[in-house]
């Protein structure tokens, strides 16, 4: 509750929070099918119709309602982003915590492997993985989570190393507290703040990577819709039907802006150094 209040009183947190909330609502509506039209229904007579009162965002080449497809697409893109970030957070936290706790050879091997992954540009690495495994929604989830795991590993490992050396961990050892208790209560609990910030920012990157993969035809497969796929379809019709390009593009941009603003606000709020008294 305290965090929600703090977000609302933070200028960029307010804007980011509202944007993200609206997107979540839209994604939910899209997911349960509460769209103005059936996103897959082809209204042949209304092909490439400009925005009107019945098609608020116009129709595409097959006469499908852009707004319905956009809502469905946002749902699809967010699903991929959430699952991939959740997996990356889980994997990164486990790897980072164990690397920091056990140290030694495990730490060295793990972190060098993460360095190798980090050396590839995100979209290139995702492309590589998808090309090997084959396109599809769940392979994009897997690919994107692998791409962002190293970032979470690093975000966890650094603070975990310094927490491990703190007196309260030594104190726990003198009580004979179990390893799992120390890892969860003393390390993980103190990592919640940096992780929250990282999750918010990673959601924005994951959305962008998903859009990139779908744009290249390796993510979500037609006839399902996703933001990247809609962009890709609209590419050749840019001059006849600019709305096809404009709406998904703006949707991607706004969502990333929203997550970034929210992430910045959370960083300010949760970081004790910038926290206002």
């Amino acid at each position: 509750m305290r965090v929600v209040k703090a977000i609302l009183s933070h200028p960029s947190g307010r804007i980011g929070g509202v944007i993200v909330l609206v997107y979540l609502l839209v994604a939910l509506l899209g997911a349960v099918g509460l769209t103005p039209h059936d996103p897959l229904m082809q209204y042949r007579i209304d092909r490439l119709h400009a925005p009107t009162s019945s098609y608020w965002m116009g129709t595409d080449l097959f006469g499908r309602d852009v707004m319905s497809r956009l809502m469905k697409g946002i749902g699809q893109s967010f699903t991929v982003a959430f699952f991939s970030v959740a997996l990356a957070t889980l994997a990164g936290t486990v790897l980072g915590l164990t690397a920091a706790w056990f140290g030694g050879r495990w730490d060295t091997v793990m972190m060098r492997f993460m360095d190798v992954l980090l050396a590839f540009p995100a979209i290139l690495l995702a492309l590589l993985i998808v090309t090997i495994v084959g396109p599809g929604t769940w392979t994009s989830v897997a690919a994107i989570s692998i791409v962002y795991t190293p970032i979470f590993t690093r975000v966890v490992r650094g603070p975990a190393l310094s927490l491990k050396a703190r007196d309260f961990v030594d104190a726990a050892r003198t009580f004979g507290s179990s390893r799992s208790y120390i890892l969860t209560r003393h390390l993980l609990l103190n990592l919640v703040a940096p992780l929250t910030v990282q999750v918010t920012l990673a959601l924005a990157w994951a959305l962008l990577t998903e859009a990139g993969l779908s744009f290249l035809g390796l993510g979500t497969q037609p006839p399902a819709s996703s933001l990247g796929l809609m962009l890709s379809d609209a590419r050749n019709l840019m001059e006849q039907a600019p709305w096809l390009l404009a709406f998904p593009a703006v949707a991607i941009m706004l969502s990333i802006l929203g997550f970034n603003l929210l992430g910045d606000a959370l960083r300010d709020i949760l970081d004790p150094k910038t926290r206002r008294a």
């Binding site: 703190r166 007196d167 309260f168 030594d170 104190a171 726990a172 050892r173 003198t174 009580f175 004979g176 507290s177 179990s178 208790y181 209560r185 003393h186 609990l189 103190n190 919640v192």
Partner: protein, 586 residues
């Protein structure tokens, strides 16, 4: 000090606030004082008393810390005879007086120096900036500056980086830099608080000598009225941003008027060479009870590896052949300087450090170190670091219980409430978080946590060192009371002889990883036998030794690095009195 001369610094009704103008919080409320040429003024007070803020207002360094002088005047007599009001001086004038007329040394020499530049480069910089020296000239000046603060082998030290020098050496470097431009006023902000007691004595001796040589004035900020007694001409006592008393050193020490000054002088532990040592020791009883803790021939070594194949090239003998026993209800204080192995000894007893060899016995249950959990608990030095900020007090106190595999039930919660009450914390503490408590309260919380499992031995590693002096006294009282109540044995690690005198029944002096003297507190503190113990006790500042002249000593501490397989010669002990023995140096 010539009374007819104008004071070098004249502060009138100084008010300093922090924070934005609308919600400014005033921390210094109308401080006035004069500082004569060549005079040493000590500002004494506890943290938050405004002593540093007052001193750092005189060169407006306080601006950088977010402070603002809201009213009052600070008149500085400059070298050319003109008088400058620092409160309304411009940026250029301020740059002119900083370093050149007012030098400052801070508490932490380690963080005040740039770790990647050599000492030489950093000293030369101040000569370049203020005196316009270049190249070889600057280098010569830097060497002379180091020689002036009695750093041996100055030529070589110039090429060292800060991590290669000890804390005492670094503080000398800081003094050399502060004095580079011959300032007429030196502000020393707790310059020895982070240093060992013998090093502190060296720094104090150096400051006194430099003052005699240069005739500079000095503002010496300290929380320790005993330390101030060795150097000050006049003393200002501050509390909550106000001067509660000021006067000549003798008057303040002998005829304190204000209750707070009296409190600082009497309630706070001062070292008195064993006079105040405790007399309720367990060794007074005729048949000695069984020891709660016996440590025999404890050795902790860290291998040093070098070369291409990580061959062992030697070992750091952190603790070498330490043995002692501890009776129920008894306090053994281990004293020594940083690097003497006293903390490593404590950590080995707790199982936080794996001993190379040695045997422990706790309450006659012989146990090899690390094999079983010992009924030994610990209270750490820093109460801010030893409590997890994300856990509530209830969760913190429950941890030792959970560690034993039990679940915190009603009986446990009752014990929590009883212990909290016993250590003097409010009853509604259970739902609160560590940041809602002051340093002293947190340390009480740590003590309560250590007592949750009803241990027989509590290791207190510098447990009161991070606390303000008057809080220190109250926590010590609590520890003594708890000792009587629960029959606790304390292993009390400290560098502070005044605190040790208040709590210890027996004292063990550690030097270079070994115990060099051990015995009854009164006997060891009043009649030290080993040369190192003598040096250590002589170095303790006391209010009885005023304006004492310390001998400068530039010897280095011996290295603890030994070749592979080295075994120290067996100790031979000489007995002095019933319970007091001293290691005979080979």
């Amino acid at each position: 000090m010539a009374p007819e001369m104008k004071p070098i610094l004249s502060v009138r009704d100084l008010h300093v606030s922090f924070g934005p103008a609308a919600s400014a919080k005033e921390v210094v409320h109308g401080v006035s004082f004069d500082l004569g040429v060549g005079e040493v003024l000590a500002i004494v007070g506890e943290s938050g008393s405004g002593k540093s803020v007052t001193a750092l207002s005189t060169n407006r360094l306080i601006d950088y810390a977010g402070g603002r002088i809201t009213s009052g005047t600070i008149e500085l007599l400059r070298a050319d005879g003109s008088v400058l009001d620092v409160t309304c001086a411009g940026r250029q004038e301020l740059t002119g007086i900083r370093g050149a007329e007012i030098g400052v040394i801070f508490q932490e020499p380690m963080t005040s120096l740039n770790p990647v530049l050599t000492i030489g480069a950093q000293i030369e910089e101040s000569f370049r900036l203020h005196r316009g020296l270049t190249g070889a000239q600057a280098r010569d000046a830097a060497r002379e500056a180091l020689e002036r603060v009695r750093i041996p082998d100055a030529e070589r030290r110039l090429k060292a980086t800060p991590n290669e020098l000890s804390g005492g050496m670094l503080q000398r470097v800081m003094i050399a830099m502060a004095l580079a431009c011959n300032p007429r006023l030196l502000i020393a902000d707790e310059p020895t608080t982070a240093l060992d007691v013998t090093v502190q004595a060296q720094i104090m001796a150096l400051l006194a000598e430099l003052r005699r040589e240069t005739g500079m004035s000095m503002i010496f900020i300290s929380h320790d009225i005993g330390l101030v007694a060795g150097i000050a001409d006049r003393v200002i006592v501050m509390q909550d941003g106000r001067v509660v008393e000021q006067g000549d050193l003798g008057d303040i020490l002998d005829k304190p008027q204000h209750p707070y000054t009296q409190h600082l002088l009497h309630a706070v532990p001062h070292f008195s060479s064993g006079v105040a040592a405790r007399t309720d020791g367990a060794r007074m009883a005729a048949p000695l009870p069984r020891p709660t803790l016996e440590v025999d021939d404890l050795v902790v070594r860290y291998p040093l590896k070098g070369g291409w194949f990580s061959k062992p090239v030697g070992a750091v003998h952190a603790v070498d052949g330490v043995g002692f026993d501890l009776l129920p209800g008894e306090t053994l204080a281990i004293v020594g300087e940083s690097g003497s192995g006293k903390s490593t000894t404590a950590r080995a007893v707790l199982g936080l450090v794996a001993p190379t060899r040695g045997a422990f016995a706790v309450e006659a249950q012989a146990a090899r170190p690390g094999q079983s959990r010992l009924p030994v608990q610990m209270v750490f030095q820093n109460p801010y670091a030893s409590l997890n900020p994300r856990l509530s007090v209830e969760q913190i106190l429950a941890e030792p219980v959970i560690a034993t595999g039990a679940s915190p039930d009603k009986a446990v919660r009752d014990r929590m409430a009883a212990l909290l009450k016993r250590v003097g914390l409010p009853e509604d503490s259970l739902a609160r978080y560590p940041h809602q408590f002051s340093g002293g309260q947190r340390q009480r919380l740590c003590i309560a946590r250590a007592l949750m499992l009803n241990p027989s031995v509590v290791v207190l590693d510098e447990a009161v060192s991070a606390l303000d002096v008057s809080v220190q006294a109250r926590v010590l009282e609590l520890l003594v009371d708890l000792q009587h109540e629960y029959g606790l044995a304390y292993l009390f690690i400290s560098h502070d002889m005044a605190v040790v005198e208040r709590i210890a029944h027996r004292v063990a002096v550690m030097y270079a990883g070994q115990i060099v003297e051990i015995g009854d507190a009164k006997s060891v503190l009043s009649d030290p036998q080993h040369p190192y113990t003598k040096k250590l006790i002589e170095a303790v500042p006391t209010i009885d030794r005023r304006k004492q002249h310390f001998e400068l000593d530039t010897r280095q501490v011996p290295s603890l690095v030994r070749p592979v397989g080295y075994e120290p010669p067996a100790a031979t002990w000489m007995q002095y009195g019933a319970d007091h023995k001293v290691r005979a140096d080979a």
